[in-house]
């Protein structure tokens, strides 16, 4: 059930017309995926090469999908904006990847991983998807090991594990502090093998600028060659978007600089539903902002919270003292105090908000009082500096390089930063969007993490989607499409979309204003961080909803893009992305405004009990799915109700 909020956002009475059936198989949760796999249609092996598939993105999700679909025999084209598929943002993941292997014999199981993920997501994810994710998690580790991913090992040669934010079992696999890099290099190697074999055509330094929809189906994409500026059309029987998250809408985030919302937002404008855009994750352990030249924020893996203890001075007057001068009884280990059973391992949203509270209370440390300590003193005393170096050496080095301080001697200073986006394109159980033939994988979709993602679960989801799910569900779709039905890339639908893309680029070039693209992006980021960040109120969101359109209008009047349209032009690339962020930001704030509850990363100050988030299952136990209704009309909000049949809806407590 929906309620129209005081603002004038139209809310559809029923989701049925826009949001299709999610195609969740019947039967007990443990059997749904097996049943679905068995019931899926197959494409005859000899016919597979007649099907063209476009995969946009070469991260864990897209790279794994492109490689796997090519192994199966499909004719695949893969696109990424970096100069090589190996550089997708997945490369930056540090901490690890979860899997329900129970190698440590500590009580883990598929069901427990499922349970933890549903609960961690604050009951805003679809049970069936999450269970499938937990099931295939074990296959992911097998596949990665077989491809030569150098996971950490015990002396006996078995795989090592560690426990990771929010989990009480050790189910996280890792490769030093470079797990994402090693998993992505595994994916890249599989993809390269298919490129070498001529089964995947790879388009690097190529940006997708639109999806082409014809007769209600996705039939291709429009791209810009970032080196030559050339715009071209690519046709396919199906399009898979795996373009990552939109955290950079905040300008400052832990994401790589190129991460953007363009592909999913363009799909939204072509009719794909956008789900829960306001569900963004703020990560508790990042290096604090040091000045206005700051271009990104660096994450310190939360695996550090296994051994580091988080504290602030008990007295505000101690905040300027050297930490060594503050006696134990004058330190407030606030996570251990507030959440005795999870302590420093409390989930991200909780740990982030707690840090903000301490700083708002005047007890923050470092420049501007926006930081808390993450202290390894006790771990070093207990295990020795060498052991700590072995586990976290590269992270400590990274910290020292950025801050000029040695964390073996002085506690690290950390502060929350935007990190991950749970929202994304709505997909059904088959990972298909509301547009038939358009699929969405990885961080770009909304499906598995609800309102908060647990640590080490994004890598798992990306690889689950790319290696083990899309290979079945895409086949099922293609089996119902004639291979002869390929829309020609010279058909009117393509010509129209190409023209629109070119016109938009021309419009951007024609502004010839005075302000740099970055200056607009920074300003947008500040608005969102203040108004739609860790704590949101009706007032702050309404403020954002007046500020954003104004900023957008200024952007289109005063942005300065030098250079040409038909050549390598990084300002133009950025301008296109920022123009999309400027529209998307409004959707995010609208979503946050209507969701009058607190859940996971979405914290509405009005909805709390003694500082803890207060969910409203009566009114908001659903996915919000937004429909684009036109450039001049407001988007419409539809819903997909969520049913919890296996994990009982309960207030999340980590006390």
């Amino acid at each position: 059930m929906d309620r129209t909020s005081s603002s004038s956002i139209p809310v559809a009475a029923s989701g049925r017309s826009f949001v299709p059936d999610a195609r969740i198989p019947g039967g007990p949760i443990e059997q749904k995926w097996a049943k679905a796999k068995f019931e899926m249609r197959l494409v005859n092996p000899a016919n597979k090469r007649k099907y063209k598939v476009i995969v946009v993105g070469s991260g864990l999700a897209g790279g794994a999908a492109a490689a796997t679909l090519a192994e199966l025999g499909y004719d695949v084209a893969c696109f990424c904006f970096q100069d090589s598929p190996r550089r997708a943002h997945s490369i930056a993941a540090q901490g690890g990847i979860n899997a329900a292997k129970n190698y440590q014999n500590d009580g883990d199981s598929v069901h427990r991983l499922f349970y933890d993920t549903v609960k961690g997501g604050d009951f805003r994810a679809r049970e069936a998807n999450v269970h499938r994710l937990a099931e295939v998690s074990v296959d992911i580790i097998d596949q990665c090991a077989a491809m030569g991913v150098p996971f950490a090992r015990e002396y006996g040669g078995t795989l090592a594990n560690r426990s990771f934010g929010g989990a009480q079992v050790s189910r996280t696999f890792y490769a030093r502090g470079q797990t994402g890099q090693q998993l992505l290099l595994g994916v890249y190697s599989a993809l390269s093998r298919q490129i070498g074999a001529g089964k995947v055509r790879m388009f690097s330094r190529t940006e997708m600028l639109d999806v082409v929809v014809d007769n209600g189906r996705a039939v291709g994409i429009i791209v810009r060659d970032l080196v030559t500026g050339e715009i071209s059309s690519h046709a396919a029987h199906a399009v898979v978007l795996a373009t990552g998250g939109y955290g950079n809408v905040f300008f400052l985030s832990t994401n790589a600089k190129g991460c953007n919302v363009t592909s999913t937002y363009r799909a939204f404008k072509r009719g794909a539903g956008f789900a829960n855009p306001c569900f963004t994750q703020i990560h508790p352990t990042c290096i604090p902002v040091s000045g206005d030249y700051q271009s990104k924020l660096t994450l310190m893996s939360e695996s550090l919270r296994n051994d580091g203890r988080v504290w602030v001075p008990r007295k505000a007057s101690d905040c300027k003292l050297h930490p060594d001068k503050i006696a134990d009884e004058d330190r407030d280990y606030y996570l251990e105090r507030k959440y005795p059973s999870f302590g420093n391992l409390s989930p991200r949203d909780i740990a982030s908000r707690a840090a903000k509270e301490q700083c708002d209370d005047g007890r923050g440390v470092g420049p501007g009082g926006r930081g808390v300590y993450l202290d390894f003193r006790d771990a070093i005393a207990r295990d020795g500096e060498d052991r700590v170096r072995e586990k976290y050496g590269n992270l400590f080095d990274m910290y020292e390089r950025i801050t000029g301080e040695n964390p073996y001697r002085v506690p690290m200073r950390i502060y929350p930063a935007v990190h991950y986006t749970m929202g994304g394109l709505w997909v059904d159980y088959h990972l298909q969007t509301t547009i038939p033939g358009l699929f969405c994988l990885g961080e770009a979709n909304f499906s598995d993490h609800g309102a908060n993602r647990l640590g080490a679960s994004a890598l798992m989801q990306g690889l689950a989607d790319g290696y083990f799910i899309i290979s079945y569900t895409l086949g099922h779709y293609l089996a119902g499409v004639a291979s002869s039905s390929l829309t020609s890339s010279t058909a009117p639908a393509f010509a129209d979309a190409e023209r629109a893309v070119k016109q938009r680029l021309d419009r951007l070039m024609a502004v010839k204003g005075n302000r740099s693209v970055d200056s607009f992006h920074k300003e947008l980021g500040q608005v969102l961080w203040e108004d739609c960040g860790m704590a949101r109120t009706k007032g702050s969101l309404e403020h954002a909803l007046t500020a954003i359109p104004k900023l957008r209008e200024q952007f289109w009047r005063d942005v300065s893009i030098l250079g040409g349209r038909d050549s390598f032009n990084q300002s133009l690339e950025k301008a296109g992305r920022v123009a999309d962020f400027l529209e998307f930001a409004e959707l995010m704030c609208k979503d946050a405004l209507v969701r009058e509850e607190s859940c996971g990363g979405h914290y509405r100050v009005e909805h709390q009990v003694e500082g803890e988030a207060k969910r409203d299952d009566q009114n908001f136990c659903h996915v919000a799915v937004w429909e684009h209704t036109g450039d001049e009309t407001p988007p419409a909000r539809h819903t997909e109700p969520l049913a919890f049949e296996n994990v009982k809806l309960a207030t999340r407590s980590y006390k």
Binding site: A67, T68, E71, Q82, D83, S84, R86, R87, H89, I91, A92, K101, D139, D142, Q143, A145, A146, M147, G148, P150, F151, A152, R153, Y155, G157, T158, L159, Q178, Q181, Y188, S189, A190, S192, R193, I195, M202, S204, V227, K257, G258, S290, G291, Y293, S295, K296, T298, P367, M398, R401, I402, G404, R413, F468, S516, S560, L562, G563, S567, F568, S571
Partner: protein
């Protein structure tokens, strides 16, 4: 990072080249008010903001993660790849290592196999080509045994990981007087060859990747080891010795195979 920081005024000499075909040249710029806490790329951001404000086209440079892992950033800084600080990429280099009034020379990677696309950006697809010839284990998705069925001694996993840390930035090639990609190729081989998973294709992979490296336009290795000094991930020259050992054997195996194939072996 203390509350205190200085601001630097610098003179930059930057390589400007409009596209692949056009000639390039060094252009001098003043950049002012750079905080010592800023990173090198943030310093270039500041320069670009100042250029845009003056109506001049900003300098193109590659970057993405800005935390030393994606391998997208590059730059010869004062003649040294990534600025020459040990185990540090350009994006991790911070301005506290420069002094007020410094002159800094900034150029793209210079190597036959890495043509300049624009200003400081080069084309490194030659690396991707070499990997696509053999930088993988041929294991289709779905064919894997349980991960713990194949034990890997911790030392082997650690050695593999040391080599696998390569970010494919190309500093080794830029540093090499011959423009050789030996450290890059050897690191990939060392990663796979310390693991049991890499053994079945070991010699074939070595032979194929070395040939692919030559074909992609990289020069030959004549043991200068400038690559090791330039590597932001501290990859050891030892991997090159490992490669050479396997390469000798691969040439032999290759001959044997060729002989068998034409029936004479």
């Amino acid at each position: 990072m203390s509350d205190s920081h200085e601001e630097l005024d610098l003179t930059l000499h930057v390589w400007r080249q409009p596209d692949r075909a056009a000639p390039g040249k060094m252009v001098a710029y003043k950049v002012t008010g750079v905080s010592t806490h800023a990173s090198f790329l943030e310093m270039l951001d500041i320069l670009n903001e100042q250029l845009v404000a003056r109506g001049e086209e900003p300098v193109a440079f590659d970057h993405d993660c800005r935390e030393g892992i994606c391998g997208m950033c590059s730059l010869m800084i004062n003649g040294r790849p990534h600025g020459g600080m040990r185990a540090t990429t350009t994006c991790q280099l911070h301005m506290r290592f420069f002094k007020n009034g410094d002159e800094i020379w900034i150029e793209p990677w210079r190597a036959h196999a890495f043509p300049v696309i624009k200003d400081l950006c080069v084309d490194r697809t030659a690396f991707d080509k070499v990997i696509s010839i053999g930088g993988f284990v041929s294991a289709n998705c779905g064919s894997a045994p349980d991960a713990n069925d194949l034990l890997v001694p911790k030392e082997a996993a650690d050695r593999a990981m040391d080599a696998a840390a390569c970010i494919g930035c190309g500093a080794c090639v830029a540093a090499c007087p011959n423009g050789s990609a030996m450290l890059f190729v050897a690191a990939k081989l060392s990663h796979l060859h310390h693991l049991p998973q890499g053994q079945p294709e070991r010699l074939a992979r070595t032979g194929a990747m070395v040939s692919a490296m030559d074909e992609a336009g990289f020069g030959a290795c004549s043991n200068h080891y400038e690559c090791e000094a330039a590597c932001p991930k501290d990859i050891s020259r030892d991997v090159i010795a490992e490669l050479n050992r396997d390469y000798a054997r691969s040439a032999f195996v290759h001959r044997e195979r060729a002989n068998k194939a034409d029936g004479s072996g």
